[in-house]
Amino acid sequence: MQDPRIRLLSAFLLSLAAFVSIAGAVFVFIWWLVFTPRWHCIRHRTALCSAFVLFLIVAVVIYITGGDGLSYLVRMAVILLVGSWVFSESCTGDFISLGTWLLGNRTGFETGMIAGMAMQMATDISDDFYRIRIASRLKGHSWGIHSIVPAGRVIIDDAIRRADETAEVLAMRGYRNGGTICPHFHTSRCDIIAGCCAVVIFILAYVHVSEFFILYR
């Protein structure tokens, strides 16, 4: 999907649709099968698996405490797939273009820039995690659950340091607030069809079918 406006709107609506009911999650999964490169769009598989394991643990807890853990797991897994698709399709500048288009050169530009930086930070943190795992392995340390906290400390420290450096670079370049860009989007026919389908799925998930069609009198 080339148009970030349709992509993000679709992801937002599909996530809500998948979260609200199991039927919504099934529709969203079908949408994911039809309109995305499916498994090829999943880039950070280890991170995705880790998130899935986290949801699995929560689902087990919900099940043990009498809730519908399976439904929770299915819905969250589908949301993960949608998130993974959005992450893989995102390009540099998407958020700043979208923000400026939506909210203008001041608020929109800044919001878009912050969102873009956050996405970049997510990629950096993932790379840092991989790097620390390799470094620990080279130092002869075993890697496991016990490594998460020490690695996390270094990653957070590094992320804060990088954020400081970015702020300094922006200040040195004279950045105060806002900016001017002329966002340009390319919308294909496939984008429009996928976006429309996402809207339909969202409506179907939130509004009961019988409210649309008079099935029985």
Binding site: R131, I132, I134, A135, S136, L138, K139, G140, H141, P150, A151, R153, V154, D157, D158, R161
Partner: protein, 237 residues
Amino acid sequence: MEVAGLKLVLSHVTAGYPRWSLAADCVFLPGIHLVSGDVGSGKSTLALMMAGLRTPESGTVIREGISQVMLSFQFPEFHVTGLTVAEECRSWGLLSDEIIRSAGIDVTGETPALSLSRGELKRLHLACVLARNYDLLLLDEPFSSLDCAEKEKICRKISSRSSGITVIFTHEQSVFPHVDHIWEILEGRLVDCGNMPGAIEHWQHAPALVKKLTLAGRTPHELTPEGIREAACRTQE
């Protein structure tokens, strides 16, 4: 110098990205090896494959008798797993006071490791790496971010390694440690230039001064600064 049983074999190994490839078919025996090549020629990729951190597209890497492997990355921050200098030294199983002294940097154990400059961090990292013995030590651009005096100091430490296989991947042209064997990456292939000093005659990436001395019939017996000086001052071959 040689330790019986240690052998690193690259059997018909290939690696590549689109529009770039690397092939190697060779054996590394104990001693100090120098692998030279242009920037982007695949030195780091080769080091990763030798360390077992990257799977070759074809062929196999066999580490015979090698149990302890260390790959020193070009960027020292890639090795940092501790918040402070002391924690970082401990993660290597070393005492911070000794390492700080050995690295010759003006920091304390409580200094945040990632607040060090690239040069300081490189010195700290190399002090940690060279404080321990490894069967296979792979040094990817060990001289980057270092000044000349520091490069010479590191060269002396590398030269003093008395066992194991040491492979230095570098495009450095000014300062070298004692080297037993020279390799170079030419047109996507790892080429064996041979043992020192004969290797120099086949070494296309040789520094200009070394080439000049060789052409003048005064081939250095050693690549160390002392070896180069000796060749330059030699009056008779």
